[in-house]
C-alpha cells in the first residue's frame, strides 16, 4: 500500500466563498486499497472538499491529481467518469424506479432504442452479488429500508468502475447491525483495490474501519495519522481544538413536581405510560425504533391523538389539542427530524425563533420588530448560535447551529417542560457537547426535561433516570445507578411472544 503511488492526491486545495475561506491549502491523499477517514465538525470544510472532488464546485486554488495526473472537474459527471464516485448523505436515488434502473440510470443497456431489461437486471445482480447484498434488482427503491437504499447507492458507485469512492456520513440513518454490515462492505471495497474516503461524525466507526484518519478544522488540515496512533479523545481534541470537558452526567437535583402523566395511551399502540417529571431533572425515554418512546413525546406536544387518565402540569389538569395549545401551556418541543419538521428553511434565524410566540411581540396589528430582534439576539448569545446575524437565513447555518435555533424556539415560549426528541441527531461533536452543556445549564436552573433518544451514550450522559420502551409499553424504569447500555438494551429488546423484532 505505501509502496504504490497515491490514487488521489490533493495539494494545497483552497476554496473561497464570498467572505469565507471554506478550505485553506489542504493536502490529502488516498492510496489504492485504503480507507482514509475524514473527520471534522460541521463547517470544518469536509463538504467543501468532497464537493470539489465530486466536481460540484471548483477549487479557487491548488491541485487534484488522480493517478498522478492533474485533473479539473467541470461538473459531477466528469468526476464520475474519471473514476471518483461520491455517495452523498442525501441520496440521489429515484424512489419510484427499481434498483436496477437506479444503478444504471442514464446508462441503461440497450438493444437499439429499447432498454434491454434482462441484461440490466443481470448486470445489476452481478454488482449486488459482488457486494454480497441481498436485494432484488427489480424491487422499487422506495420499498427498501434506508440501509438498503444506501447499499444501492454503493452498488451504483461501484458500477461506474470507481477508483475512489467518497462516502459522506453513510451511517447517519442506520442502526447498529446495519452499520456493521456497511463497514464490512467498505472494508471489502478497499480490499478490492478501491480507495475509500470515509466521512463520518461517528468516531467509533472511523476507528474501526479506517486505515488512516485526517482531521479538518476551520478549513485547515490539522492532523493525519494511522489508526493505531489515534484514539477517540485524541481525535476529538484535534477536531474541536480543546479537550471536551466532563463526559459523565452531572448530579441532578430534582425539585418540585412539574408534570404528571397517568395511563397515557397513543393511537391504539402505546399503552400504560405513567410517569412523574420534576423540575431540575432529565427523564430519558429509550427504546428501539417503533418502541413507542417517540410517540409519547409527540403525543404530549399534541401531535398525536392520545388518551390519558390524568395529565397535570404544576398540579393543574392539562388539556392539549395541538402544538399551539401545548406551547401556550408552556411545553417546548424539539422534533426529531430537524430538516423535515424542525427548521423553516426560507426564514431567518430570528423568525425561526419567534414563530411560535409572534403574538406576544405584537404591537397593535404588526409585530414589534425591535422586540423580535432583541429576543433573537438574546437567544443567540445564550445558546451561542453562530451566525453572521439573526437576520440570516437559517439554511445557511451548520446543522448544530440550526439545532440550537430549534432549541431556542422551544425555549422562547417560557417553557417549563422541554420535550426533546433526538436532540443531537446529525449534529457534530462540538455542537453536541455544547447542546449537552446547555441542557445541563437549563436543568440546573430548574427546567424539567423529557428526552427521547436512540443514542445510548447520550441517554447516559444526560438522563438521571430513564423509562425503557419496547412494543408500545414501558418495560421498566432505570435509576441513574442502573443506567448503563446493557440494562437499557435488555429492557428494550424485551418483546411479547408475537415479537416485533427490529
Amino acid at each position: 500500500m505505501s509502496s504504490s503511488p497515491p490514487l488521489l492526491e490533493v495539494q494545497g486545495l483552497s476554496r473561497r466563498f464570498p467572505g469565507v475561506l471554506a478550505l485553506d491549502h489542504v493536502d490529502f491523499d488516498v492510496f489504492p486499497g485504503e480507507v482514509h477517514a475524514l473527520v471534522g465538525e460541521n463547517g470544518a470544510g469536509k463538504s467543501t472538499l468532497i464537493n470539489m472532488l465530486a466536481g460540484v464546485i471548483q477549487p479557487s486554488g491548488g491541485t487534484i491529481k488522480l493517478d498522478g495526473q492533474a485533473v479539473r472537474f467541470a461538473n459531477p459527471s466528469s468526476a464520475q467518469h474519471a473514476g471518483i464516485s461520491v455517495i452523498f448523505q442525501e441520496f440521489n436515488l429515484l424512489p419510484q424506479l427499481s434498483v436496477a434502473e437506479n444503478i444504471f440510470i442514464n446508462r441503461e443497456p440497450k438493444r437499439g432504442p429499447i432498454i434491454d431489461w434482462p441484461t440490466m437486471y443481470r448486470r445489476a445482480s452481478d454488482v449486488l452479488d459482488m457486494l454480497k447484498i441481498e436485494i432484488d434488482p427489480r424491487a422499487v427503491v422506495q420499498s427498501l429500508s434506508v440501509a438498503q437504499q444506501q447499499l444501492v447507492e454503493i452498488a451504483r458507485a461501484l458500477s461506474f468502475k470507481a477508483k475512489v469512492i467518497v462516502m459522506d456520513e453513510p451511517t447517519a440513518a442506520l442502526n447498529d447491525r446495519e452499520v456493521d454490515r456497511l463497514l464490512e462492505i467498505v472494508r471489502s471495497l478497499a480490499d478490492g483495490g478501491v480507495g475509500v474516503i470515509y466521512v463520518s461524525h461517528r468516531l467509533a466507526e472511523v476507528l474501526t474501519v479506517a486505515d488512516r484518519i485526517s482531521v479538518l478544522r476551520d478549513g485547515r488540515h490539522v492532523l493525519t495519522a494511522a489508526r493505531r496512533e489515534l484514539d477517540e479523545p485524541k481525535i476529538v481534541s484535534a477536531m474541536v481544538g480543546r479537550e471536551l470537558l466532563h463526559v459523565a452526567c452531572p448530579p441532578r437535583t430534582p425539585g418540585e413536581l412539574r408534570l404528571v402523566v397517568r395511563d397515557l395511551s397513543v393511537e391504539d399502540y402505546v399503552k400504560d405510560v405513567s410517569f412523574e417529571l420534576h423540575g431540575g431533572e432529565v427523564l430519558g425515554l429509550a427504546g428501539l425504533m417503533g418502541s413507542g418512546s417517540t410517540d409519547v413525546v409527540e403525543a404530549l406536544f399534541g401531535l398525536r391523538s392520545m388518551q390519558a387518565a390524568e395529565i397535570k402540569l404544576n398540579g393543574e389538569a392539562l388539556a392539549i389539542d395541538g402544538p399551539r395549545s401545548a406551547i401556550r401551556s408552556s411545553l417546548g418541543y424539539v422534533p426529531e427530524d430537524r430538516k423535515r419538521s424542525g427548521i423553516l428553511p426560507d426564514l431567518s434565524v430570528k423568525h425561526n425563533i419567534s414563530m411560535g410566540i409572534v403574538e406576544r411581540l405584537r404591537q397593535v396589528v404588526w409585530v414589534n420588530e425591535r422586540e423580535d430582534q432583541k429576543l433573537a439576539e438574546q437567544y443567540q448569545s445564550r445558546l451561542n448560535i453562530r451566525c453572521r446575524s439573526v437576520n440570516q437565513y437559517i439554511s445557511g447555518l451548520s446543522g448544530g447551529n440550526q439545532q440550537k435555533v430549534v432549541l431556542a424556539r422551544a425555549l422562547a415560549g417560557n417553557s417549563q417542560v422541554l420535550l426533546l426528541a433526538e436532540p443531537t441527531r446529525g449534529v457534530d461533536v462540538g455542537a453536541k457537547a455544547e447542546i449537552y452543556h446547555l441542557i445541563d445549564e437549563l436543568v440546573a436552573q430548574g427546567m424539567a426535561v423529557l428526552m427521547q433518544t436512540s443514542e445510548l451514550p447520550e441517554l447516559i450522559r444526560l438522563a438521571n433516570r430513564c423509562l425503557v420502551f419496547a412494543d408500545g409499553k414501558p418495560q421498566g424504569e432505570l435509576a441513574k445507578d442502573d443506567l448503563n447500555q446493557e440494562r437499557v438494551m435488555a429492557l428494550a429488546t424485551r418483546f411479547d411472544v408475537k415479537g416485533k423484532a427490529a
Binding site: P323, P335, L344, D346, V358, E369, Q392, Y393
Partner: protein, 318 residues
C-alpha cells in the same frame, strides 16, 4: 471591483424585473412614437393593474406553498353577482357583494384543502369548473348589462385600477412582512410540518390565504366587468395562468416560503408592456398569446438555476 460586482448583483437580484421593464420601454420608445403617449401609457398601466391585483393574491398563495387555479372563475362569478345586484342595492352594495362572493368561494377552497385534505391543485381545479358552471347557471348563459349605471365605471375609470393595485400591494406587502399572519403564511410555505410544530395553525392560515386570493380575484373580475359594463360566464378565462405567471415572473419562487409583492407588480407591468408593444408594432394578435408563456419559462428557468447555485446557500439577509 468586487464591491461593484456585489452591488450590481444586489440590484440585479432585487430589481431584475424592473430593469427588464425599463429596457423594453426604451426599445419601444425608439421603435414607435405612440408608446410614450400618455393615453397609451395609461392603457399599459391599467392592463397591468388588473392582472396585478389577482396576481398579488396569488403571490400570497404561492408563498404559502399553494396556488389557486379557480381565480378566473371567481372573477367571472363575482363580476356577474356584483353587476346583477347593482340595480337593487346600489353600486357600493354591489361591489361589497362581489368582494364577499370572492372571499366566500376562496374560503371554500381553503376548507376543501384543509378539511377534505384535497391537494390545492385538484381542489382549485375542481372549483375552476364548478364556479364557472355556477356563473353560467346564474347568468343563464346571457350577458348582464348595466344600463345607465355608469357609476360602476368608477372601478375601472382613470387611475383607479392602478391605485387599487398599488394600495393592495402595499397592504399585502405589509401583511407578509410585519404581521403574525404573514409570518405564518411564509412558515407554512417554507415547511408545513415545522410550522405546525412551531405552533402555527396551518389550516386557519390557509383559510385566510384562500379567502384573500378569492377577494383579489373578485376585485379583478369586477374591474374587468366595469371596463365594458358587462359581465358573463365567459369573463376572465385563463386569468389563473396570468396571475401565477406575473407572480413567478416577479420573482416569487413556486417552492413557497417567500413572496415579493413589488415583484408581482413589476411582473404584471412587464407582461402588459410587452403585449402593448406587440400591439403597437402591429404584430398579429395571436403572437401575444405566446409572450406570457415565454416570459414565464424564462423567469422560472432563471429562478431554478439560481436556487441550485451553491452560492445561493450563502445568501444573507431575510
Amino acid at each position: 471591483m468586487s464591491t461593484l460586482r456585489r452591488l450590481w448583483q444586489t440590484i440585479w437580484e432585487s430589481y431584475r424585473v424592473g430593469l427588464f421593464v425599463i429596457a423594453v420601454a426604451i426599445v419601444l420608445t425608439l421603435l414607435t412614437p405612440r408608446f410614450m403617449q400618455a393615453e397609451n401609457l395609461m392603457n399599459v398601466l391599467t392592463n397591468a393593474s388588473v392582472t396585478a391585483i389577482v396576481g398579488l393574491g396569488m403571490t400570497l398563495a404561492i408563498a404559502s406553498g399553494n396556488f389557486d387555479l379557480s381565480v378566473g372563475s371567481i372573477a367571472a362569478f363575482a363580476g356577474s353577482i356584483s353587476m346583477s345586484l347593482v340595480p337593487s342595492i346600489g353600486i357600493a352594495g354591489g361591489v361589497a357583494a362581489g368582494l364577499l362572493t370572492g372571499a366566500i368561494v376562496g374560503l371554500i377552497n381553503g376548507l376543501i384543502i384543509t378539511e377534505l385534505r384535497v391537494p390545492a391543485f385538484i381542489a382549485t381545479l375542481g372549483m375552476l369548473t364548478i364556479v364557472r358552471g355556477l356563473t353560467l347557471i346564474y347568468t343563464s348563459g346571457h350577458d348582464i348589462y348595466l344600463y345607465g349605471q355608469t357609476g360602476y365605471k368608477i372601478l375601472s375609470a382613470g387611475a383607479m385600477p392602478l391605485v387599487l393595485a398599488l394600495v393592495l400591494a402595499a397592504l399585502l406587502g405589509f401583511v407578509v412582512k410585519y404581521t403574525r399572519f404573514g409570518r405564518h403564511v411564509l412558515a407554512v410555505g417554507s415547511n408545513s410540518a415545522a410550522a405546525t410544530r412551531s405552533g402555527v395553525r396551518t389550516s386557519r392560515v390557509l383559510w385566510g390565504v384562500f379567502a384573500i386570493v378569492g377577494t383579489t380575484a373578485a376585485l379583478s373580475g369586477m374591474i374587468i366587468s366595469a371596463q365594458v359594463l358587462t359581465a358573463n360566464g365567459r369573463l376572465a378565462t385563463g386569468l389563473e395562468l396570468s396571475a401565477i405567471a406575473v407572480a413567478v415572473i416577479g420573482g416569487t419562487p413556486l417552492s413557497g416560503g417567500k413572496a415579493t409583492m413589488i415583484g408581482t407588480l413589476l411582473g404584471a407591468l412587464l407582461v402588459s408592456t410587452i403585449n402593448n408593444g406587440l400591439n403597437l408594432l402591429n404584430v398579429q394578435i395571436f403572437f401575444q398569446e405566446l409572450t406570457t408563456g415565454v416570459l414565464l419559462l424564462i423567469a422560472v428557468a432563471f429562478s431554478i438555476r439560481r436556487g441550485y447555485h451553491p452560492r445561493a446557500l450563502l445568501r444573507r439577509q431575510a
